[in-house]
Homo-oligomer: 86 residues x 2
């Protein structure tokens, strides 16, 4: 499983859309706080593998392109560790 | 925008994985309670348009195949109306 602390250090480029506390900056982006880390990791992997396309997926694909598997696991652990409504 | 009450009536086939209160039955499925309705609608549309493929996406594509645009808007409104951690 990922490391939430390391994930927090890597989340800089996620904040603009997903918010500092995982509450999305706009309703077309998903809230991530309290989401299941395993699901988040699968979603990040899906963007990286090109299994998600069109619309916002194109933006996400650009962001995940530079992430390693452990980066994605850490980011998933970080957002999963936040409490929704914080 | 969708109608949460109508969405509740259509959510029968979603419960097995996403839970009665939108808390996923397994960590590889996303929690939906309190998720942004606009995002949920985009995600459902992405499954319907074949923009999401592989893994669990194949399961979701089967579920959304029979849904109309208003069904998807209502389901998104319903799950978006639930409070996380209910």
């Amino acid at each position: 499983a990922g490391d939430a602390q390391r994930g927090a250090e890597k989340a800089g480029s996620c904040l603009a859309c997903h918010g500092a506390q995982g509450k999305a900056a706009a309703p077309i982006y998903p809230n991530l706080a309290g989401q299941n880390a395993a699901y988040l990791e699968l979603a990040l992997q899906a963007y990286k593998k090109g299994e998600r396309n069109g619309g916002q997926a194109e933006v996400m694909k650009a962001f995940v392109a530079g992430l390693s598997d452990s980066d994605m696991a850490d980011l998933a652990a970080y957002y999963g560790s936040l409490q929704p409504g914080d």
